[in-house]
């Protein structure tokens, strides 16, 4: 498990990174926290000729809060997000997800942008981004552009990022009053990739949910928004009948492929268990 030879370039700024990516073309690979890339190099699954190291670009690591909401920079480490008071206050869904991501050593190095740009369908952060309606900021040779999270994740390890582009971070909308988040994942060991997980964000008013974004992960090729479930609960009292109907709606929302640790049938079953538990939590939620 030794990586094949590669060249190394150090990007000093976003412009410099874009320039280096343009210069080396498809043979270049961006190195952020390296928590997925380094094993892939050592397994010889990834064979870039050049690594463009963006770690020196300090600006990319910022977490900024303003009237528009929260911007999490691509180089923000998981541990920084986990321990950020602003994230805890403004993005409780993200704060709830952070301790579930791998282990402290990995969170110390792994980055927000790396997780999102990799597009692993079992990862937590992409589902949170979709549930919260985040917009990804992307820099490229032709300037900057934005892509909504719901359109960013395009398949297994596939995103809207084009060759030569660099993910700058994600803009999360400001926290809206009355909205409540829930996060739950099932892993056999703490820190593992989820067998099934979900990130939910919706308006809770007098025991009724509306505008619910209920986003599953590890059940498809990207974060999957459970539309039927959301429709089934929209504006209704969260009683047993509503919750049953919501769980039943998952039949059409999800078609999970099986993997090593959970068959398709098991994932479907667990998705139902998660939905029931999270909706029950909404039903018994106290406070705003």
């Amino acid at each position: 498990m030794k990586a094949p030879s590669f060249s190394y370039e150090r990007a000093e700024s976003v412009a410099n990174a874009i320039e280096l990516l343009a210069r080396h073309g498809p043979d270049a690979q961006i190195l952020a926290g390296g928590q997925s890339l380094m094993p892939m190099l050592n397994f010889r699954v990834a064979r870039p000729a050049v690594l463009v190291d963006i770690n020196p670009i300090a600006d990319l690591a910022a977490i900024r809060v303003d009237k528009k909401g929260v911007f999490i920079g691509a180089l923000a480490r998981h541990a920084d997000i986990e321990h950020s008071g602003e994230v805890a206050e403004q993005l409780p869904l993200v704060a709830a997800a952070m301790p579930q991501i791998a282990h402290p050593a990995i969170r110390n190095r792994g980055t927000f942008g790396g997780s999102c740009a990799l597009g692993d369908p079992a990862a937590e952060l992409p589902a949170c981004c979709v549930a919260l309606g985040a917009e990804f900021r992307i820099a490229g040779p032709k300037g900057e552009r934005s892509v909504p999270a719901a359109k960013f994740f395009a398949g297994v390890y596939t995103t809207a990022l084009e060759p030569g582009e660099l993910l700058l971070g994600a803009q999360f909308p400001a926290r809206q009053p009355g909205y409540v988040s829930r996060f739950l994942e099932l892993t056999r060991r703490h820190g593992d990739y989820a067998m099934v997980g979900a990130a939910a964000h919706g308006r809770l008013d007098k025991g009724r949910l509306s505008d619910l974004k209920f986003v599953y992960f590890a059940v498809g090729d990207r974060p999957i928004m459970a539309m039927g479930l959301a429709r089934a609960v929209e504006g209704k009292p969260l009683d047993a009948a509503t919750i049953d109907a919501a769980v039943a709606a998952l039949k059409d929302d999800l078609d999970p492929p099986g993997d090593l640790h959970a068959s398709s049938v098991l994932k479907r079953h667990l998705a139902g268990v998660i939905a029931r538990r999270m909706l029950n939590e909404y039903a018994t939620h106290k406070g705003a």
Binding site: S5, F43, R188, R189, H190, L260, S263, H269, L270
Partner: protein, 787 residues
Amino acid sequence: MTVFDAPNSYIGRSIPRPNLSRLTQGRGTFVDDIELARMLHAAFLRSPHAHARIVKIDTGKAARLPGVVRVLTGTDIAAVFKPYVGVLTHLQGMRSPPQHPMPADVARCQGEPVAMVVAESRAQAEDAVEAIEVEWEELPAALDMERALEPGEPVIHPDFGNNLCWERNIDTGGVDAAFAAAHAVVEETFHFGRHTGVTLEPRALIADYSKAEEALTVYYSGQSPHMLQGTLASRLQVQEHKVRVVCKDVGGSFGIKIHTYGDEMATCAAAKILGRPIKFIADRQESFVADIHARDHRVTARLAVDKDGHILALEMDDLTGIGPFSMFPRSSGVECNQILNLTGGPYRIPQYRARGRVVFQNKAMMCQYRAVGHPIAVAVGEGLVDLAAAKIGMDPAEFRRRNLLPDDGYPCKSAAGMRFEGLSHQAALAKLLKLMDYDKLRAEQAALRKKGIYRGIGLASMIEVTNPSPMFYGVGGARIAAQDGCTLRLDAAAGLHCLTGVTEQGQGLEAVMTQIAATAVGVTLACVRMHTGDTDKTPYGGGTWASRATGIGGEAVLQAGIELKRRVLEIAARLLKTKPEELDLVESKIVKRGTSEQLMPLYELTRIVYYRTNELPDDIQPELVVTRHYRVKDYAFVFTNGVQASYLEVDTDTGFVRLLKHWCVEDCGRAINPKLVDEQCRGGIVQGIGGALYEHCIYDERGQLVTTTMADYLVPMPVEMPEMEIGHVETPTQTSALGAKGAGEAGTGGAPAAILNAINDALAPLGAKVNAQPSTPEVVLKALGKI
């Protein structure tokens, strides 16, 4: 007063390990820490197929790459390395064909090495491995052990006619009559998943052959240096005394590092061919495909009881698939053999019939891993016991009380013919039930069930094979020492060097041997220096396996110490003009016996012995070095016993099992260092939990191992581990003066059974039953009929 209860005895005290600060300060020397001049690195091309003919290997392109010194194939290695056959003659009828480090004709499992690159760096070697071109002709593979003996299944070794490696039968003769007369009969088929022992430091060695001396030095991460010395000398045709195996620090072994691996042997052969040191460090991925696996068993078993819950008869059928060869030199038949020997071992069982079949298949080789056979034997026996207790409506603890061997009934012999010298099943069970407050726990369980919370309590009584005699391997023709030796040497400044044939794997052996040596001789702990793992220096011994190091190696230390002390006191008496009986050696001081009155410091005596021999009477030999060897004579094995309990909660929606608490009461005879015994129990239990809930080597339908990373192969992690409470009963063995039995494997042997029983106890009110390990959420939910 014996050496054990003297006030200055270190035996029975939890002293810290002498190697602890060295290891925690990063001053350990593992194989990869060793750099030799002109050293090269090896990497292997491994078969991508479960079964395939090697039509052609073209190494030309690889050989021309930067840094590559040589590319070698099976044919090149076979020219210098004689094949080996992994059978034991006392496992009658066992067969396995000659095996080469790398096959020249056919690869018989995925991961089998077929070519090696020796290069200036491991990275360059791996680059060249990719450039080797092999033309393969895929052959049909025999993967499923259930089908391995069926007609029409591919036969891996055509000369054998079928895929049977070995079959053993036991029959006491009255089984059918006992079942016919039984009040109740229970039957179950148990499935145990393949897993492996993931060592923190992977397999590793450096082979350094000197053509000038015709001598081979091997730095090795392993358990049994003398065994490897014998293997290498005979296979590579180097004079045995010119093969030196050195084991410095070893980062865990668990039975993984005691076998003859093709990649390691090929590395030694290549060192002889090239005359340069070559390092091979298995990476994690190749560890998963090439380390031995274990525990792949299917057991169908039934138990007959009378109306009072007394066991009448046990019958079982074990089937196991071991890969394409039986592993040299211990064979891959021992796990099956142990299962037949041990199942139901804690109980009085009048009639017993068992069949064990060991079959070849095109998967990675299986062989002995920590607690060989025990987890299966205990899970089957204890699973049946719980089923029988439930069937006749008896509490499982009471059922055990009635059937466990009585504590005053020794020596005795089990239905399988195992001879027990002195066990404490009843006392251990009583202590366990008290420790866990069994009745209160049952009440809590019942109360929670009413709230829809499903908790289970699982018990598991067990016996464990420790301190093996030559009846384990030596009698079967294997060059594996059952005896072990110790040399104690008192130097001029009264430092005591302890050289032993048993080895440190990270388990704390150096602490235990230091305690025994210091106590037996009468010196302080601080003046003992341990030397292990070097065939040039230590007495010839077997090393560390089968929970033998303390019981056998420790007894050799004790006997050497007793003799060395006798010599010291004899010299002291002459110098002090008194009788040896009037003197004692305590904490490195010569004292008047029975007092702490110092007559002479020990260093004064050693100074005279080494520098001023003129002061010694002429008939005194200036010789403060003693070697003693010890072997177990009276019994084939010195069994230990123990009992474990698991308390857990099953989430009946998700199928997840949450471990709440685990208890273990263990009788390993005299406990030299109670804390280390406890930690052996705890570590062992964790590995048992791994097999019970998490660890699984999963193959796809083409014989490809799909669990080759730490993300896919789930080892137990701290967050999920329960609190463990350990208790002891001490029944010292009379086979040695030390009285110590082994403690290294009981945790692993008993935990899976306790967990399986606890899961089934939790599920019982729902009418569900689990019979497969690892008991994954999928297994549990299927049992509940939810998926």
